[in-house]
Symmetry: C2
Subunit: 366 residues, 2 copies
């Protein structure tokens, strides 16, 4: 990271907004999408931040993502709704779906919205965290293109299908669990591959379905769709609970896709016969529970603080100095990066400059 | 299992009902509790079936569990409720809480009920599966006495905190995920200890917080509360995702206990100064989503069938012959045991005979 340019969140967001609006995305949708991306960068989840801007630009160009989609509420009850995203960007429809879930929670105690016909929505935690300012607990899940092998299977049949849950606290920070249901994301293999390091057994399998320590082989197999892939949380087989991670991934597929009418199981980004990308038909699931529908808010927050303190103050394993609460590392990183700027990897910075040039939008980040 | 007596589910349930009613439990509550226990035995989850009858009898005797509790609805909205179980058996209040969640789902699309001041509720999957006959998706979670060590911690601070999710299908069986958020339950260590086999690294830690292969040491440490315990799904540290299993356990604690006002974090079965057990103050969380609030039921069921078939028919890893859907093994076991009877371990059978004798109820199982 020594060569990384440091940029402020504000100008980085503004740059993304210029890019998206230039691509025909309405101003408000562009602002939402930019905020989701830069929030990932602030929280240290670089893989889901502006490093992905190129993919969205390509998606909008190719027609895989629609800049001005026709978004429809397909079904609705007091506590639920189903939205068709019209193949638009994942972020604006997800932001609005989560808002609707929160409104329902404020109204009847709990609210849930599924979304179909969508695209990559960024970090799952963003939407779950939207519940916090309304004193609700939030949940967000999405399915994704296949990378993960089911227990005893040979081929990738499921996405890394993340689950995020956010719960407010009082003086302590909110609890923000934001986890892929695979042991690691694909990006982790890319890092080890670049460093020419073997990966631990339990991360991925080769094309025969056996655990492997060779990240290059797994990445090569992905490209060729030759079999193998990432392992679910718990690793290969059932000995260390791999069937549980597989079950969590399947749960996400059911809630995001079977319940909404999105693509599932062996979701791949489809193409026309002549290679033109088609909408990815990804599905999402959002929900909110109003805390004080169950229990007075101040009691809940005091108990959340106490829970966190008990864990943080508990004795540590030999050689360890700290027990973390989920989200804590990311909140600390966001504070650091708000102060010091977001480090832009030189390759990412070059990519942003290239996008600016291609589209003829101003690049003012360096 | 060669010496196991085989008994029919019906007479086994009737026996449990006699035991519970003799202990002062109302007939209907006794029937519900018996059904939850014997359903576990039918499904092959022997650790949560009648093998636990002794613990419930002891709990009712000691006053830890109240036979005729005062159950109160503390708070309610169209989609939510909070119930105080009055320190009664976990099963009857959980059955009624889940029924209420389903009624709310049928009414407004989704429903959620938390329960506080309860006791061990048996298998999490039982309640999630109650949603199936109403064409709802069900969820059930419970916290439990501490056995699980948080990532980087030395001492057990969380229960095995299971999550169960059940979703209906058409011609295929329902999806029933029912998983502890630890890598394995404590019972698994007891089995390895009896067989004098080392446990795999990733199951448990010793009293210093280091992973261990010695199940006897872990079990001994539990007794002495000397530190160490079961590892969360993903194992020790963060390399294989142990922080994710820890996060799932924490999620369950928040939903079951922080949201309801039950005990959390280092939940231990409390006692009076002179050693008399006090109510365990366990908490549960139940929920249901009505499928057709989102999507026509027949479409959902057809997609559930298709999802399952795609997974089951997918290529297998070398040396494997079958990819399972969650719940499938248990449904097959329940069919087998309905036909052939439930195998009662001789020690369990002896225990049931002893209970019958102590209470003066008829024992007609052998």
């Amino acid at each position: 990271m020594e060569d990384a340019v440091r940029v402020r969140a504000g100008p980085l967001k503004d740059f993304c907004v210029r890019v998206f609006t230039k691509m025909g995305v309405p101003e408000e949708d562009a602002r939402i999408t930019a905020d989701v991306l830069v929030t990932a960068d602030l929280r240290g989840i670089d893989s889901h931040g502006v490093a992905r801007l190129r993919r969205y630009v390509n998606g909008l160009r190719s027609g895989m993502m629609v800049a001005r989609p026709e978004v429809k509420v397909v079904a609705e009850t007091p506590a639920t709704a189903l939205i068709d995203a019209g193949a638009g960007l994942g972020q604006p429809v997800s932001y609005r779906a989560m808002k609707r879930a929160i409104e329902k929670a404020l109204d009847v105690g709990a609210g849930f919205v599924t979304v179909r016909n969508s695209n990559h929505y960024g970090i799952a935690g963003y939407y779950a965290m939207m519940a916090l300012e309304h004193d609700c607990i939030g949940i967000s899940m999405t399915n994704a293109a296949v990378l993960v092998v089911p227990t005893f299977g040979r081929d990738a049949m499921l996405g890394t299908n993340p689950i995020a849950v956010a719960a407010p606290a009082g003086e302590e920070r909110p609890f923000v669990l934001d986890m892929a249901t695979s042991t690691v994301p694909r990006g982790k293999l890319e890092v080890y591959h670049r460093l020419e390091k073997p990966i631990p057994l339990g991360w991925a399998t080769d094309e025969t379905g056996q655990p492997t320590t060779d990240p290059g082989r797994v990445l090569e197999n992905f490209k060729k769709r030759a079999g193998g892939g990432l392992l679910p949380l718990g690793g290969a087989g059932e000995l260390l609970g791999g069937h549980k991670g597989y079950g969590l991934a399947l749960w996400v597929d059911i809630f995001c896709a079977v319940l909404s009418g999105a693509a599932y199981a062996d979701l791949v980004y489809p193409k026309t016969p002549d290679g033109k990308p088609l909408p990815s038909k990804i599905g999402h699931f959002f929900g909110a529970w109003r805390v004080d529908a169950f229990r007075p808010l101040e009691e809940f927050k005091a108990a959340m603080d106490d829970l966190q303190r008990r864990l943080k103050n508990a004795p540590k394993a030999e050689g360890q100095t700290r027990i973390y609460i989920h989200g804590e590392k990311e909140f600390e990183e966001a504070e650091r990066r708000s102060r010091e700027g977001i480090p832009l990897n030189p390759k990412v910075a070059a990519d942003l400059r290239a996008i600016a040039e291609e589209l003829g939008v101003e690049y003012d980040l360096e």
